[in-house]
Every structure is written in structure tokens, then in C-alpha cells.
């Protein structure tokens, strides 16, 4: 079956929506990476830009919603066309949330950078951030190419993020237990870790939408916990 509609302007409408999702995805990735870089390099100079940059994601999401409503109203899409429009709307909403988390990471990073000396748990945090950035990049690739298998690979990798977060959570609690002077910074640190873990969850929501778009149903299996030990590589 060809993917072309007889009415070619319908194809252009759908391509527009895909492009908007791609732009949103690119911006979300960029914001997230900039926030993590600021924290890792202890550089506050970019933080104001990151915070200000979030409104661009909000505007893009709104633009995509408006376009999606127009396309539904004017084309009466069916089957895969309808799924691709609904997926675009849902993925846009997720990416906008990723932007919010990135902004929040940037705000909290400023506090940590300004107040804190070196902490050993920064390394664990960098590792989680690295994995989640890889997941976000991979799931956006999967969306762009309509590759449900690649999307499900991302879905499976979230297990490792959850495990690393739990471990980091324990480490931070141990730091807090040692002395009250670290408590405030530690709480910011923990929230940043939680934000990153939530971005990981959101990439799995995107993965589910990619799967839905391709197959017309949501993935039903539980995430393969047993696969985790021998699971997919996380060296992205």
C-alpha cells in the first residue's frame, strides 16, 4: 500500500504535524541537555536562557494542537491517519512536560551550584541523565521513522533508570542523615534526580504512542523486568 493520499494536501497536513513534533522534540532535548550541562559544569550563565526558553515549547505545543484540530475537522481522518494525529497531540503534550522538567532542573541547579561543594553522588546523577538523554533521542528517532521496535527498546530501558534512581535516592538520604547542613541542597539534588527519572517515564509514554500509531493498540506486556540484567545496552 502506498502511503500517499489521493488528496495530496492531506499528506502535507500530516507532514506538518510530524514536523511540529520533531521541532518540539528537538527543543525538549536541547533544553534538557543544557540543564544537565549547566549542573555538571557548574555553570550558571546559561540558566536564565534555559528558563526563558521553555515558553517556546509551550507555544509550539499550542500550535500543534490548533493544527491537529483543523486537520481533524477538515479531513475526517480514519484508521492510521487518525491515530497519527492523536499520537502527535499526545507526544507534544509529553514533550512540553519534558521542557517543564528541564526548566525545573535548571532552577534547582542554580541553587546547588551557588551553595555547594563537590558531592560524590553527582556522578550517579550524570549517569542517569546520560541514559535518559539517550532514551529521549532514540524515542524521537523511532517516532520520526515509525519504528515501533526501536520505541519498545526505549520502553524496556526505563527499568534501569528506575533502579538507578532508587539507588541514588538511598545515597542522598544517607548524605542527609549525616548532617543537617546538606539537607537543603540534598533536597534540590533529589528533586533533580526525580525530574530526570520522570523524563525517563515520559519517553516511555512517547514509545507507547509510537507503538500505538503503528499497531493500532497499546503495548500490553509488562515491561520485561527479567530482561534487565542481560538487557539492552545503555551506553548511548
Amino acid at each position: 500500500m502506498t502511503d500517499s493520499h489521493i488528496v495530496s494536501s492531506f499528506d502535507r497536513d500530516l507532514a506538518d504535524l510530524n514536523r511540529l513534533v520533531a521541532r518540539l522534540g528537538g527543543l525538549a532535548e536541547q533544553q534538557f541537555a543544557a540543564a544537565i550541562d549547566a549542573l555538571e559544569n557548574r555553570d550558571v550563565s546559561s540558566i536564565d536562557d534555559i528558563i526563558a526558553g521553555d515558553s517556546a515549547l509551550d507555544r509550539l505545543e499550542q500550535e500543534l494542537n490548533d493544527r491537529a484540530i483543523e486537520v481533524i475537522a477538515t479531513r475526517a481522518p480514519m484508521a492510521r491517519d487518525l491515530r497519527s494525529i492523536l499520537s502527535a497531540v499526545k507526544i507534544a503534550s509529553v514533550l512540553e512536560r519534558v521542557g517543564d522538567y528541564a526548566k525545573n532542573i535548571a532552577k534547582r541547579s542554580r541553587v546547588i551550584i551557588q551553595e555547594e561543594t563537590n558531592r560524590s553522588d553527582t556522578i550517579s546523577l550524570a549517569r542517569i541523565a546520560d541514559i535518559v538523554q539517550g532514551m529521549l533521542r532514540q524515542v524521537l528517532d523511532a517516532y520520526a521513522t515509525g519504528n515501533a521496535e526501536q520505541a519498545m527498546d526505549v520502553w524496556a530501558r526505563d527499568q534501569e533508570v528506575d533502579a538507578l534512581y532508587s539507588s541514588l535516592h538511598g545515597d542522598v538520604l544517607a548524605v542527609i542523615a549525616k548532617g543537617a547542613e546538606q539537607a537543603s541542597v540534598s533536597s534540590h539534588f533529589l528533586f533533580i534526580a526525580k525530574n530526570i527519572e520522570r523524563i525517563g517515564d515520559h519517553t516511555t509514554a512517547v514509545a507507547e504512542q509510537v507503538y500505538f500509531q503503528v499497531h493500532g493498540s497499546m503495548p500490553t506486556d509488562e515491561r520485561p523486568k527479567a530482561d534487565l540484567a542481560s538487557g539492552p545496552s545503555v551506553t548511548t
Partner: protein
């Protein structure tokens, strides 16, 4: 063949073939249609959907050079059996056409025509009651009760189509066939007919041919997709329009080059 779990199959087609001269219009259709459901037949022009519809009340018999093979039964009774009275069959299987075609008679006589020739009313009072009941079921009574002697052709297009539905159901059919019944109607008249179909399926089995995907999606419980004389896919309407199993179906309903 698609026989979806179902309380009662009303119409059962097995290996139905139709030839018009040398041209084969249907290639062995196996299809079960359920009682008290609306089944929509969809597909591009020339796909065989109207041909299949006309097999159900043997309207193809009147076309020169038309040969029908296979079997089609209604309530397990073979429609093509030599013993079947075709006039009686067509009373039992009513039909509504694309273009409203009321007789050039009064509204009353349009509806009374069938009951009269089938001897269904003993006296004027029972005929009056039958006409009123049929017009009510067709959702037209309120609009015409004060002008029953006016000509059927004086009504609007949508009213004429409902008059034709009243005429079809006046002879108490089991099945109503509709061949693009709304294609000549505006959206409001179309909505009135669609609402009526939902009412009518309580009492009748409805088979409709439509070129409007949205109409098929709105009104039917099952949809059958025909292509080049073959039945490609038949299933629950929600499934056909959300996750069709065949690429040809998906291409057709999405407006893609199949």
C-alpha cells in the same frame, strides 16, 4: 468468510456469483448479515456492493443477461428456490433507492399502495391505521398528517425519501435495503434519515450501500468492504474504521491510492 459471534443470522450468502453477460460482477461472496443490525456495504464504484444488495431481493433477475450463482438464504430459506414468489419476496425485503421515487399519487396512496395489492387491509379504517403507523415509523406523520391527499412529489427531497421508507415498511418487511438513500439529500435531511435508521433496526434488518465513509461509520454495526467483485473485509464497524485488517480497506477508507 466472516461470521462474527452473533445471536441471529438473518441473511446468509454462500459463494454468490453474478455475471452480467461475460462480465463477472461478484466472485463468490460468503457473507452473513445479522438480524436487527445495520450493515453498511462500502467500496469504490463497480466493486459489486449494489449488485450484492440487489441479490437479496432478486432485483438482478430483471436485468437482461444477468446470471446469479451460489446461494442466498433469508432465515435459512433459499431466496433463489424455484418455489419462491418473487413478489412476496420483495414485500418481505423492501428497498429504498438513491433518488426518492414516490409514485405520482397522494401521500396516502403512496403508502397504501403495497398493502392494497397484497390484500393486507380489510377495510378503510384498518388501511388508515396502517398508513398512519407506517408514516409514524418513517418519522413523517407529524409533517404530513394534515395533507395526506397532497401529491407525494410535492414533498421536499428528504420527506420524499421518508415517504419511500414508509411505503417500504407498510407491507411489513423483515429487511430494508437502501441503495445510497441519502446521496441526494442535504445534511439535515440525511441526519433525519440516519436517526430513523437507528429506530428502524429494532424491527428490521437494514442493509445500506453508501459512498460516505462517515455515514457508514455513524450508522452501521457491521461494515463490509467490497473491491472488484470480492468481499475484502467484513467486521464490526468500529474495527473497520479504526484498525482494518486489510491494506486495501485501510487505503480505501483513508482516501489513499490503493
Amino acid at each position: 468468510m466472516t461470521n462474527i459471534e452473533n445471536p441471529k443470522v438473518k441473511i446468509k450468502a454462500r459463494n454468490m456469483t453474478v455475471h452480467y453477460g461475460d462480465a463477472q460482477a461478484l466472485h463468490g461472496i460468503d457473507l452473513d448479515l445479522n438480524a436487527n443490525e445495520v450493515t453498511a456495504l462500502i467500496g469504490p464504484s463497480g466493486c459489486g456492493k449494489s449488485t450484492f444488495l440487489r441479490c437479496i431481493n432478486r432485483m438482478n433477475d430483471v436485468i437482461d443477461g444477468c446470471r446469479v450463482g451460489g446461494s442466498l438464504s433469508i432465515d435459512e430459506q433459499d431466496v433463489y428456490d424455484a418455489a419462491v414468489d418473487v413478489v412476496e419476496l420483495r414485500a418481505r425485503v423492501g428497498m429504498v433507492f438513491q433518488k426518492p421515487n414516490p409514485f405520482p399519487k397522494s401521500i396516502y396512496d403512496n403508502v397504501a399502495y403495497g398493502p392494497r395489492i397484497h390484500g393486507m387491509a380489510q377495510d378503510r379504517a384498518s388501511l388508515d391505521a396502517l398508513v398512519e403507523r407506517s408514516l409514524k415509523r418513517a418519522g413523517l406523520w407529524q409533517e404530513v398528517k394534515d395533507r395526506l391527499s397532497a401529491s407525494g412529489t410535492s414533498l421536499s427531497g428528504g420527506q420524499q425519501q421518508r415517504l419511500c421508507i414508509a411505503r417500504a415498511i407498510a407491507v411489513n418487511p423483515d429487511i430494508v435495503l437502501m441503495d445510497e438513500p441519502c446521496s441526494a439529500l442535504d445534511p439535515i435531511a440525511t441526519a433525519v434519515i440516519e436517526e430513523l435508521m437507528e429506530e428502524l433496526r429494532r424491527d428490521y434488518t437494514i442493509v445500506i450501500v453508501t459512498h460516505s465513509m462517515q455515514q457508514a461509520a455513524r450508522i452501521s454495526q457491521r461494515t463490509a468492504y467490497f473491491h472488484l467483485g470480492d468481499l475484502v473485509e467484513h467486521g464490526q464497524t468500529e474495527t473497520i474504521f479504526t484498525t482494518p485488517q486489510h491494506q486495501q480497506t485501510e487505503a480505501y477508507i483513508s482516501g489513499k491510492i490503493g
